[in-house]
Symmetry: C3
Subunit: 206 residues, 3 copies
């Protein structure tokens, strides 16, 4: 199981590194600034998760392969930055894949540490979406996940789905694949259909 978790985390890191590097270039950061934002976008969520779990080492300190894959992603994003302009939507798919993979990894790690179901879902949400939160804080914007699109919502629902499936007798492989596919699909539908939850105003509802 851990092998699968490691493997999907690496792919997710690569996807999120590219999307982080593109954000940083849009903000006109210098090359090493781009590298740092790529790094934070890719490993930020998992790093917060690992710092929250006292017994757990931070994953990229013990598995430097994450660092290399992020550097490759950032350098590729820098080299092909003009081409990537013409494929903004395809990139959102990478982002969605990273979100699905990381969220389920985070829930799974919570289960391994025998945390309560609600805390597993919180860890999944943090793992999936807080790399993007840190990225947005660093480029001084309100984190996109809180407002613009159904983002944290998808993580939370995907986490609940995974926890629920774990109570069934489904074979292991479906346990993870179904909620990952749910999150990735839900995000892509949300993006293409431009769906939002209503925001909660306090003043305009009198």
């Amino acid at each position: 199981m851990n092998l699968i978790v490691d493997y999907i985390s690496i792919i997710g890191s690569f996807a999120l590194a590219i999307s982080g590097a593109l954000t940083a270039m849009d903000k006109k950061f210098d090359p090493f600034g781009v590298l740092i934002i790529a790094f934070v976008s890719a490993v930020g969520g998992g790093t917060i998760r690992d710092m929250l779990i006292t017994q757990r080492d931070v994953f990229w300190l013990t598995s430097p392969s994450y660092v290399y894959i992020i550097i490759v992603g950032a350098v590729l994003a820098i080299i092909f930055r003009k081409k990537l302009n013409y494929m903004a939507k395809p990139l959102l798919i990478f982002d969605a894949i990273g979100l699905g993979l990381f969220t389920i990894t985070g829930v799974q790690i919570g289960i391994e540490y025998e945390l309560s179901a609600i805390n597993c879902i919180i860890l999944g949400t943090i793992t999936g979406s807080f790399g993007g939160v840190l990225r947005d804080i660093l480029v001084n914007e309100i984190p996109v996940i809180f407002k613009k699109e159904i983002y944290a919502t998808v993580c939370i629902l995907g986490g609940i789905l995974y926890i629920a499936l774990n109570k069934t007798n489904l074979p292991n492989i479906y346990l993870q694949v179904i909620p990952i596919v749910f999150i990735v699909t839900a995000r892509i539908v949300v993006i293409y259909k431009n769906i939002s939850l209503p925001s909660l105003y306090r003043d305009n509802e009198k």
Copy 2:
């Protein structure tokens, strides 16, 4: 002692979750964005404290009751958001109570880990006020505690008072109640009288 610490932390979390949810709604976050800001406001300071103390588990991972109370607080804040508009000042009192309870909890935990007096005061200040700092960072504002009102100052003074009382022979119950009442009262007076420390300009004093 730990029981008391747990008990007052729960009440403090509830108060801070409501005030966090209101801030997020003023920023027009979606419902799950509101929930996340409520969560970060309520447990952010204590989480940083627990991550700083190597041996200590993060409190809400081992006691999920915090998470439930925060969800209840956030949902209540969403349901009654229009009513809460007419009670802005009463809510600041909740916030003040959360500040007092959390600050003294943080100092107390520092004492339990036999840290130096100044580090206990720092941990108290972080526990009391850094949930609000994280909330303000996430909604992309300069943290209010640094500028607008005497906030961190009250934490620091309350922490010093608690450390001082600990050197006396006062019965245990007064040890915590006196500095908590001090912090809550001081904050309420500051809010209602609109008191600020002078800010330190560098240019306009020639």
Copy 3:
């Protein structure tokens, strides 16, 4: 070796506390806000490093002397704030010294925990520059290290130099002094000559 690391960290903390306090005063923070920004600027990078390394205590919790030196630095900066106006460039030198000392300390600690070379360089970069990143986040600005001047770049190059020297037979003292002098000199040259890396635009290169 650890003694040297402690000693240079204290000097670095003092330098960064002064530069942090000045930033906070420019933002018109109140005195305790100034103190907190000085604290975060000075110990923020090392604190993140120590939280990342599971086994490691946060340095200023076990060595409160850091806290005292930061308070002294912040109070001196407050008292002499008008005089310091006339010495902005000399202060950047303090900042450069803090950067050099902290970066190499961070790399050294990574080596002590037998981390891979690339992770040692990352820890050095975090130790040297993330106090400033946290400072900029708290005052709600895009961290200066990503854009304006060659900053993270100098940390990364200095870290690579230190790792490379460690493979040689140089006496211990040179191992640390050479990369520290490199970082400090490089930063000062960058500041005085106003050198930047090109930022990577995505749109203007068609």
